[in-house]
């Protein structure tokens, strides 16, 4: 009888351990530990690996201006695109990069509005990723116009032709959507940085650091008269960023969906593009965070639970894009339109079959591994799996763009696109630029939002009684 009671108690203890939400900051770290652990990354001398990788990726990033100079001085003919494939790697890369940015805004805005407190330790680096991805994205549409020196025609500035922009064109909507997205993301990111820059200012040991971080933090002193307005401003920005992030990729998808090209002209595009963007973006967040978490020992801040949550989002959005892929085929068949049916049959079984099936494998099949807890709990397995969505989302855009236009309505205007070395080198250059900017960010700015992480610790709750961690954890979860 007694043995029964103890075993029942043990089972109950196990169950309550299991049901108890894991704390967002592991090991009950004090507030000063958080400040110290995050600021140390910026304050200590740069480690050797940082110099080596920054020099390597900086050199790769230099390929971007080099290739752009070659492109502009010679002409767009150095890219492999030509009639009928007039959009190829340029727009593929544009949509790829802009999509990656979306996870950052999703984490910072949508998860904020839905009170997902686990976002706090990953939002800063995800937002930084957004900004760098949008920088990489902006390069392609700007240069694909051909005569870059006329790119200012995109903006409503009175010009010698006396003619205005065509506001009915989705390409112009894109200009407004992407530039607004970049500006608002930058403002949101900077707003979040202010209190943490003040932390770096107050810990500065040299006059230069104190001045630099002091200027950047604009004299922040953490008074409640500042916090009350700060929190409202943050809430408003989160509120407007939420529809903004959903609109940006919708507008990007309008570039295709408002055309009459079979394979592009579908109403499913806006939600399908947004789901794909979040999918690819979360994969990229995981790709960047897992190595830095290991290098800087941030396991107590970016816990296994965070990784687990992000894997679940990758699984969800990966399945959503899988649904969208199959629904496209269904609608093509259901439409009864021979051109529509042909566009999709050609996509899967035509000359670009390899791209299509790479996309399916990477985006639909690979994330299904995240159904298994083992795959979500082991960071290195996660890192290996998210490489598939990273690749697959590039293939998705390539498949949508190139396979839809390489066979025009008349067989006389059929073609096959192959990239040139300039296409390939420029894309590699933007990958280098992206990683290079991220390495600089990690070195000079706090990569974890300290004040928000402190705010989700039990000791930050004014109704918390010290010594009773269990109730506090429950109240906070």
């Amino acid at each position: 009888m007694r043995a029964d009671t103890t075993s029942a108690q043990a089972a109950f203890a196990r169950a309550s351990d299991y049901l108890e939400r894991q704390p967002l900051v592991a090991n009950h770290r004090p507030l000063s530990w958080i400040t110290d652990h995050v600021c140390r990354i910026v304050e200590q001398p740069a480690p050797m690996w940082w110099w080596i990788s920054t020099i390597i990726f900086g050199a790769v990033a230099a390929l971007t201006p080099a290739m752009l100079t070659y492109l502009v001085s010679t002409g767009v003919g150095v890219w492999g695109l030509n009639v009928p494939v007039c959009w190829a790697w340029d727009i593929t890369n544009f949509v790829f990069w802009i999509g990656i940015g979306h996870a950052g805004t999703l984490i910072s805005a949508i998860l904020f509005l839905t009170r997902q407190k686990w976002r706090t330790s990953i939002n800063r680096s995800a937002e930084a990723m957004t900004i760098f991805a949008v920088i990489c994205a902006g390069i392609f549409p700007a240069f694909h116009v051909g005569r870059i020196w006329f790119a200012w025609f995109l903006f409503p500035i009175p010009n010698a032709n006396a003619i205005w922009q065509n506001f009915r064109s989705p390409l112009l909507w894109d200009v407004f959507a992407v530039s607004t997205y970049f500006t608002v993301s930058l403002i949101f990111w900077y707003l979040g940085l202010i209190p943490d820059l003040a932390s770096l200012r107050d810990r500065a040991t040299t006059r230069f650091r104190q001045m630099a971080y002091g200027l950047l933090s604009m004299g922040w002193r953490g008074s409640n008269r500042q916090w009350t307005h700060y929190e409202k401003a943050y809430l408003v920005l989160a509120g407007i960023s939420t529809p903004l992030v959903l609109s940006v990729h919708s507008v990007v998808s309008f570039d295709f969906a408002t055309s009459v090209v079979p394979g592009w002209h579908t109403t499913i595009f806006p939600p399908y593009f947004v789901a794909g963007a979040i999918f690819g973006g979360f994969a990229m967040v995981l790709t960047l965070l897992i190595p830095f978490r290991e290098i800087y020992g941030l396991h107590d801040l970016v816990t296994d639970k965070h990784i687990d949550n992000m894997c679940k989002i990758v699984l969800l959005t990966g399945s959503l894009v899988g649904y969208a892929y199959s629904m496209e085929f269904f609608i093509a068949w259901y439409s009864g339109n021979p051109f529509e049916i042909y566009a999709f049959t050609n996509r899967a079984f035509g000359p670009y079959w390899w791209a299509y099936w790479s996309m399916i494998t990477c985006n639909v099949v690979a994330p299904q591994l995240f159904w298994f807890k083992y795959c979500r709990q082991n960071p290195w397995v996660v890192l290996a799996i998210v490489m598939f969505p990273n690749t697959g989302m590039w293939f998705e855009r390539f498949v949508i763009i190139v396979t839809s236009i390489h066979r025009d309505f008349l067989p006389s205007s059929w073609g096959y696109f192959s990239p040139t070395w300039v296409d390939i080198t420029l894309f590699i250059g933007t990958i280098g630029l992206f990683v290079f900017l991220f390495l600089l960010f990690v070195r000079f700015l706090p990569m974890i939002t300290m004040f928000e992480v402190k705010n989700v610790t039990p000791q930050a709750d004014p109704h918390h009684h010290t010594g009773n961690h269990h109730s506090a954890a429950k109240a906070h979860a």
């Binding site: 507030l31 407004f176 004299g219 500042q226 916090w227 307005h229 903004l244």
Partner: protein, 197 residues
């Protein structure tokens, strides 16, 4: 040689936790102080209520920004497409609501963001790189793990000795005077230099 007396900005006290600071703020507010503030590494839930703040007005600036954005977008599209140079493109009307919506939306968002930031900077009086509270050496911990309450000497209820006692009673420690012009008082780090002139 006579030293000009340093001007007192206020009295600062340190508290051990967010909970203590919240309770202290409730008491100071109840006593009717007006010119005072609390300082913490993160926003404390319930502090606005404890200090008797009303809703922040930042959202008003956001609204103004949003209205400006929407009307700018409408004026821009209508003027350029329907008034200044009407041009038929693909047989579509010069101005219609549907194709204008994306740009209406984007400019509304953009100017709402600008309005929010301008509102925040105006209401918090930022950037302000210097402030007397920075003269208090313990204050550096405010962005780490320090919780502070500062009573300004400009408050009509402020009385140096009694206020010091009050801060002690409500649980404050390390109670110190904060001066407007710290170069007039001896500083441990730079002892004589300032006073020889």
């Amino acid at each position: 040689m006579s030293q000009p007396a340093p001007t007192l900005y206020g009295l600062g006290a340190e508290f051990s936790s967010a909970t203590d600071l919240l309770h202290a703020a409730e008491k100071i507010h109840a006593l009717g102080f007006r010119r005072w503030d609390v300082y913490s590494p993160f926003p404390i839930h319930g502090m606005d209520h404890a200090m008797g703040f009303k809703r922040s007005r930042v959202s008003l600036f956001s609204l103004l920004g949003g209205i400006t954005g929407l009307s700018t977008a409408f004026a821009l599209i209508y003027y350029t497409s329907a008034l200044n140079y009407p041009l038929i493109v693909q047989g579509k009307p010069y101005f219609a609501l549907e194709p204008s919506l994306p740009i209406f939306f984007e400019l509304t968002i953009l100017l709402t963001a600008f309005g929010t930031i301008i509102g925040l900077l105006l209401l918090t009086l930022m950037p302000r790189l210097h402030h007397p509270v920075f003269n208090w050496d313990r204050f550096k911990r405010v962005t780490d793990d320090g919780f502070f309450l500062v009573l300004e000497s400009a408050d009509p209820r402020f009385q140096s000795e009694e206020s010091r006692k009050l801060l002690g009673e409500i649980g404050g420690s390390h109670i110190s005077e904060i001066y407007q012009d710290p170069e007039l008082i001896p500083h441990p780090a730079r002892p004589e230099k300032e006073f020889t002139a």
